[in-house]
């Protein structure tokens, strides 16, 4: 594909068909209409010190010699911004974009256009040092520097919060491809407004927003909690698992906790309040409560059905807990074992070994040791009468014991 480099196109001389100089083309305008490669809708030009819009249909040729119009007419409209339209040089070049392929923020050193389907379209950006160098050099030498590594526009999502006519166009459809943890990484790397933009892109999906919040580092989570009302926070917290919800509420300033808790549904509030009573780094504070439990007399097939119909996330549904008549833990059976057994077998008869359980005040280190020694990903938590309260999962323990230096990058001014 033959690329046209934006920095070599505009600003340039604008000529009519006869080759006469009309003015200067200052910027190119593309329409973000959902196409893979956004088409050129026109150019911003300056004619007799008046900003005018040159529609793409009027442009005969874009090249290194400048921009040539199809006709000699001069009845061009005064420039104004349209919905869905973005100025390449002003709004995209030198700014950050989200590269969905790899979930990184990139800065556009160059924007590449090409003729696709008979129209000029943006096909990608160049973030390499070569592109930076090309723009430093005078045009004569700049031509000689070719683009080697161009990021495909299909994986790129520009920030549009600074564009007046696009401020409300938040969906950023390509972000749907990212995992909440990747979105959280992006939010942590982005600056204020852009971070807000990423978050508002998932705003319509409460579950995703809740996941994103959980994944943020404490500094950013605190920051975004501050900008949201108690009611909004309540809606987000309601979508988290009880363990994460409790962790999140614990981080809030004292006076907001009450208000946020009050806005939760009753059942949710009770379980969160229950967890808040435990220490943050103890089994009680870390445990999750959305377990798969079955009662006495259950057969293997019933237990599998319980897994199927429960809303428990997959990392928790790897164990089925068998309770006796008084809600005391009798046995814990791994899902894989259940799958291998005869369906009609009563569950009680299948148990050969029951892994250890812990109390609510067991510390992180003991939990980590148990998980290592017994190859566990989930450790049940019991009260003094052996009632099953919840279970601590390995990812939460890992998160707490992960050495500080293992994080990928630390922001100097906010590193705690």
């Amino acid at each position: 594909m033959r690329y046209l480099h934006l920095s070599l196109i505009v600003p340039c001389t604008l000529r009519d068909r006869g080759g006469e100089r009309l003015g200067r083309a200052l910027d190119l305008i593309v329409r973000l209409n959902g196409d893979d490669f956004p088409p050129l809708s026109g150019a911003l030009a300056e004619l007799a010190e008046r900003p005018v819009f040159v529609p793409a249909s009027e442009i005969e040729l874009i090249g290194p010699e400048g921009m040539v119009l199809r006709s000699t007419r001069l009845d061009l409209d005064r420039f104004h911004r349209n919905e869905q339209e973005i100025l390449l040089r002003k709004d995209v070049l030198d700014r950050q974009l989200i590269n969905v392929d790899g979930a990184r923020l990139v800065r556009a050193n160059e924007i590449e256009l090409a003729l696709v389907d008979n129209s000029y379209r943006v096909v990608g950006i160049d973030v390499s040092a070569r592109a930076f160098l090309r723009r430093l050099l005078p045009k004569r030498f700049a031509h000689r520097i070719e683009s080697r590594a161009v990021l495909d526009w299909r994986h790129l999502e520009p920030f549009t919060g600074h564009v007046p006519t696009l401020r409300l166009r938040t969906p950023h459809p390509k972000l749907a491809r990212l995992h909440p943890a990747q979105l959280a990484d992006l939010v942590e790397d982005a600056s204020g407004r852009e971070a807000e933009e990423i978050i508002s892109a998932v705003h319509s999906d409460l579950g995703r927003e809740a996941d994103l919040f959980q994944q943020l580092d404490s500094h950013h989570r605190r920051q975004f909690a501050e900008t949201r009302s108690d009611h909004e926070l309540g809606r987000i917290v309601a979508r988290m698992g009880a363990d994460n919800a409790a962790g999140f509420v614990r981080e809030l300033p004292e006076k907001r906790r009450e208000a946020v808790l009050a806005s939760l549904p009753d059942a949710e509030r009770e379980s969160v309040e229950g967890l808040l009573g435990y220490g943050a780094a103890s089994a009680g504070g870390l445990m999750r409560t959305d377990l798969v439990t079955v009662g006495e007399g259950t057969r293997v097939t019933d237990a599998l059905e319980a897994v199927r119909s429960s809303g428990a996330p997959s990392e928790v549904a790897t164990w089925v807990y068998l309770l006796d008549g008084e809600e005391r833990l009798e046995a814990a059976i791994p899902l894989a074992d259940l799958l291998r057994m005869a369906p009609q077998l009563p569950l009680v008869q299948t148990v050969s070994f029951t892994p250890p359980a812990v109390g609510t005040d067991t510390g992180i280190e003991e939990l980590a040791r148990l998980m290592t020694d017994f190859n566990l990903t989930l450790v049940p938590v019991l009260d003094e009468e052996k009632h099953l309260l919840g279970a601590v999962s390995a990812d939460d323990v890992l998160e707490s014991v992960l050495p500080r230096g293992w994080r990928r990058r630390v922001h100097v001014f906010t590193a705690d």
């Binding site: 943890a181 990484d185 962790g247 504070g285 590193a415």
Partner: protein, 444 residues
């Protein structure tokens, strides 16, 4: 991927104190909240205070002391004017950090493109390399006052600062270094104990005493350069942006900025007064070594003057030596559009680690050259900074006025006028200095 996934539960107990932001109903609670709001910035060591304090580093102390010894109180008026200027430019940088949430180089890049960004970046790189050298010279000089050879302390300090920055334990180090600058409080006391002629001091503050010698212009440029150092504004903007200060908190942030500048420049003023009283009035007009500068503290500290001065100098120089490479690394990452922050492994943050290493390494190696004329070098670095600073300040001035960028928080007429005047006066002073040096190179 998972950058900081941990943090969730474990650090909930050990978080920073929450600052009063809600609106309590009762009047009494409102009053209490107001007091908390006023005191909070002093308690939390805001970036404004830290940035301003970094200006009283080795180069700053050398420039102020040279001025006091050479011209007595005659240049005090410059300190007053420069305090106003510094408040204005620091406020602009802080406000831009709050409103845009971006670092300075990032904003320059997005508004002026790669060419201007490169110009700004190089001007910052050159000055910061020079200032970096001066910090390690200061560390060496401080340690020699304590009878420890600089061949020992300079490499140690370089390793210490490098480790702190690359291991990401910057924030606690910041607190220790700033605590080490407390001995500089001795300057106001020493100034009072030296019984300066307060009438003359007051007169010098309100009525500029002008001289026409190149040395005078050079020293004016040097103290302006020692006070208005672009790395302070860059640090402030990046720190404020990264901490995510919101526009609702702008008032509190301003308090931190203004308070920090006034505090730091009061110390600077008292350094001039005490050196003037201790040296100038006794006919010692040439400060040749740091021991001479320490002598200004004798009225207060007696025979411990040197030791007291050395600790203060060490703290201020370490503080600046830590802020400087980080700020430079931020500027370079932002200019080229690379990710910011330090990593455990080199490949996770190559630009950051390289910049920090080069700056610290250069500073430490130059500071180890035998027979360096310490004070001359320190003052020369401030002069260099005075020459280059207007480039950064120009963009700060223009951008803070930009309606599109700053919206309703753009600089008003008065602020803009002061900042504009600062840029223009600094530029003219630099040009006059360059001309004077061209005509009569030996005149300094």
């Amino acid at each position: 991927m998972s950058d900081a996934r941990r943090a969730k539960e474990t650090d909930a107990g050990a978080r920073e104190p929450e600052i009063e932001t809600a609106r309590p109903t009762a009047a009494r609670r409102r009053r209490r909240a107001r007091i908390v709001r006023l005191v909070a910035p002093l308690a939390i060591l805001g970036p404004g205070l830290i940035a301003a304090n970094a200006s009283n580093d080795a180069g700053g102390v050398a420039a102020y002391a040279s001025v006091g010894a050479r011209y007595g109180y005659d240049l005090l008026w410059v300190i007053v004017l420069i305090t106003v200027s510094l408040i204005v430019v620091q406020e602009m940088a802080g406000r831009m950090g709050v409103v845009t949430g971006k670092g300075f180089a990032e904003v320059v890049r997005e508004h002026y493109g790669v060419r201007w960004t490169t110009v700004v970046m190089f001007s910052i790189l050159i000055t910061n390399l020079a200032i970096g050298i001066s910090e390690f010279v200061g560390i060496g000089a401080a340690s020699e006052l304590l009878h420890v050879p600089r061949e020992v302390t300079v490499p140690l300090a370089a390793i210490l600062v490098w480790t702190i920055l690359v291991r990401g334990s910057y924030r606690w180090a910041e607190r220790i270094f700033i605590a080490m600058t407390i001995p500089f409080f001795a300057y106001p006391i020493a100034a009072v104990l030296a019984h300066p002629h307060w009438g003359t001091v007051g007169h010098a503050i309100v009525k500029p005493q002008l001289h026409t010698s190149p040395r005078y212009i050079y020293l004016v440029v040097a103290i302006v350069g020692a006070t208005v150092m672009p790395f302070m504004q860059l640090y402030l903007q990046s720190a404020v942006a990264e901490r995510g200060v919101r526009v609702e908190e702008l008032r509190r942030q301003r308090l931190d900025i203004v308070g920090g500048v006034i505090f730091a420049n009061l110390i600077a003023g008292f350094i001039i007064i005490s050196t003037a009283a201790a040296l100038f009035t006794h006919g010692i007009t040439n400060v040749g070594s740091t021991a001479d500068v320490a002598r200004a503290l004798e009225p207060f500290a007696g025979r411990f003057a040197k030791e007291l001065f050395a600790v203060g100098l060490l703290g201020a120089s370490l503080l600046a030596a830590a802020i400087l490479p980080v700020t430079t690394a931020y500027v370079i990452s932002e200019s080229f559009g690379m990710e910011k922050g330090v990593g455990r492994h080199f490949r996770e943050a190559p630009v950051f680690t390289t910049t920090i290493t080069v700056l610290i390494g250069t500073g430490a190696i130059v500071a180890l050259i035998p027979g360096l004329p310490v004070i001359t070098l320190l003052v020369a670095v401030q002069g260099l900074n005075g020459v280059f600073a207007p480039i950064t300040l120009f963009f700060l001035w223009r951008l803070s006025r930009d309606r599109e960028l700053m919206g309703e928080w753009r600089s008003g007429r008065l602020l803009s006028a002061v900042a504009g005047a600062t840029v223009i006066v600094m530029t003219i002073l630099s040009l006059v200095l360059l001309a004077a040096m061209a005509i009569n190179p030996g005149g300094l």
